[in-house]
């Protein structure tokens, strides 16, 4: 008897408004949360825009000690976890602790805290040998990204398998896929699965500046993230987290839980080509999509919505469009495809989980979020990218994909929660 994971709770911390409903409102209204960077002084940087969260940890119930202990990425994850658990209505104290698992993704871990503390220890980069007298008590927790999964595990008193998945920009979708696998394997009955990243600090901006990956559209921050638009010029960094409560389908139904959607199939492939470069043929992403559909026992024609990686780099948009055509055939021209990165930016590892959350909400609420800022067609990107305006649309099966540094390509297939 196979065990299928279903989503019964969703927690989101995203730019444009903390919380699941604020997030969904932003997406369905087609608003953008990209703006000039306020989290640090970006003078002298090539790209000075980002999608930032207006996030006050105290307002979201974090205690002074939690705020001190946790990097911003951990704070996001904890707030997302609390919202997801509340949303699911699950009584975690009735689940044996060793049957609760955690799978959290993050591309860059606790970068903000690491950089902030480094600046102090090195007195502004002036000494290679650091002054350990200035080390904060939880510094090691910032050095190891696994802390992000630890904090989530502590929130729910999980004693089952706990994983921190760090696959670059596919971390989020991969972590949700891993969480679903833990349930399928019988290693856990409930899994808190999601991802978090808070990369908006000078070192992240500088490293993407150095490879010209981020948008320099500094005069027009609101419209800078333009996936599939002919005038796109790079991605816009973002930050945030999404955490999902995953349960075994039978158990969720038995307790009468509301089910947003089912995780039917997940697969990933690697291009083994280049750490950052993509071949235009989209072959490995297409392979991942085909494998995920096979696991989900769905045909390409069943896909009713595609949540694209849609980062807004020329290379990605063409690669991905080719991958959809290669894997879905003519159906690629008929299915709505959109990129929420046009609104919430690219939060590296977190965005993959945020996008799965968006897919679950799209299934549940029968609405497809748009691709904002898509005004000028690129002849090489000729699919239905749902420009500017959300669309009422009932889908039975949705596909979410991600592509990241390292050459990793991942795909997930979700089905409706009320499916027979």
């Amino acid at each position: 008897m196979s065990r299928t994971a279903v989503i019964t709770g969703i927690g989101v911390v995203a730019p444009g408004g903390v919380g699941r409903e604020n997030f969904w409102a932003l997406l369905t209204e087609g608003r953008t949360a990209t703006r000039s960077i306020s989290l640090f002084d970006a003078t002298g940087f090539r790209s000075r825009i980002a999608a930032e969260c207006d996030f006050d940890p105290a307002e979201h119930g974090l205690s002074p000690q939690e705020v001190r202990r946790m990097d911003r990425a951990a704070q996001f994850a904890v707030v997302g976890t609390r919202e997801a658990v509340l949303d699911s209505g699950i009584a975690l104290d009735r689940v044996p602790p060793h049957r609760i698992g955690v799978s959290i993704g993050s591309a860059v871990g606790c970068t903000m805290a690491l950089e902030r503390e480094y600046v102090v220890l090195s007195d502004g980069g002036q000494r290679w040998n650091l002054d350990h007298g200035y080390a904060v008590p939880h510094l090691y927790g910032h050095m190891v990204p696994s802390t992000l999964a630890v904090e989530v595990a502590w929130q729910v008193a999980a004693e089952g398998p706990v994983a921190l998945v760090s696959d670059g920009c596919t971390s989020g979708i991969d972590a949700v896929g891993h969480g679903a696998q833990l349930i399928a394997d019988g290693a856990a009955d409930v899994v808190l699965a999601g991802a978090t990243d808070a990369p908006l600090s000078p070192i992240t901006s500088a490293c993407f500046d150095a490879i010209r990956a981020t948008s320099p559209r500094n005069h027009d921050a609101e419209h800078a993230s333009r996936p599939f638009d002919a005038e796109r010029d790079g991605f816009v960094l973002g930050e945030g987290a999404a955490v999902l409560v995953l349960e075994e389908r039978g158990a969720a139904r038995a307790r009468g839980a509301r089910v947003y959607g089912e995780l039917l199939g997940f697969a990933s492939r690697s291009n083994a080509f280049h750490m950052t470069g993509l071949k235009p043929d989209g072959r490995e992403m297409a392979e991942a999509i085909t494998a995920a559909l096979a696991r989900a026992r769905r045909n390409p024609d069943d896909v009713g919505y595609v949540n694209a990686h849609g980062s807004g780099t020329k290379q990605n948009d063409r690669h991905e469009t080719a991958a959809f055509k290669r894997s879905l055939g003519d159906h690629a021209y008929r299915v709505p495809v959109s990129s929420i990165k046009s609104m919430v930016g690219h939060s590296l590892g977190a965005i993959g989980a945020i996008e799965v959350a968006a897919c679950a909400l799209a299934l549940d609420r029968e609405t497809v979020p748009p691709t904002a800022n898509l005004r000028t067609r690129d002849p090489e990107c000729d699919l239905d990218y749902v420009p500017l305006t959300a669309r009422e649309h009932r889908a039975d099966t949705v596909l979410s994909v991600a592509s990241g540094f390292g050459g990793f390509q991942s795909a997930m297939v979700l089905g409706r929660g009320d499916a027979a």
């Binding site: 150095a210 490879i211 010209r212 280049h274 750490m275 950052t276 470069g277």
Partner: protein, 86 residues
């Protein structure tokens, strides 16, 4: 007047991007493309960054591609340095 010759380019490449085992950078490589020499777009970004820091000149992002050759790079970089009055 700062000169920028093939030897300068090779020195920068060796230190910032390394050398592929299959390539003899000290051989006749002036007309071989960067791609064939094992240098990708990141290596060329790294090269342009080093030129900026050492010679104080900025070149456009697309000044060099994997199809460019060391000879072209020396002309482009050297020309830019000459124009800056370096």
């Amino acid at each position: 007047m700062t000169e920028f010759v093939l030897q300068d380019l090779k020195r920068l490449l060796k230190s910032c991007a390394g050398v592929d085992e299959a390539v003899d950078l000290d051989g006749p490589v002036a007309d071989t493309s960067f791609g064939d020499l094992g240098y990708d777009s990141l290596a060329l970004f790294e090269l342009l960054g080093r030129v900026r820091r050492e010679y104080g000149v900025d070149l456009p992002d697309d000044a060099l591609t994997e199809t460019s050759t060391p000879k072209v790079a020396v002309d482009v970089i050297g020309g830019r340095i000459a124009r800056s009055g370096g």
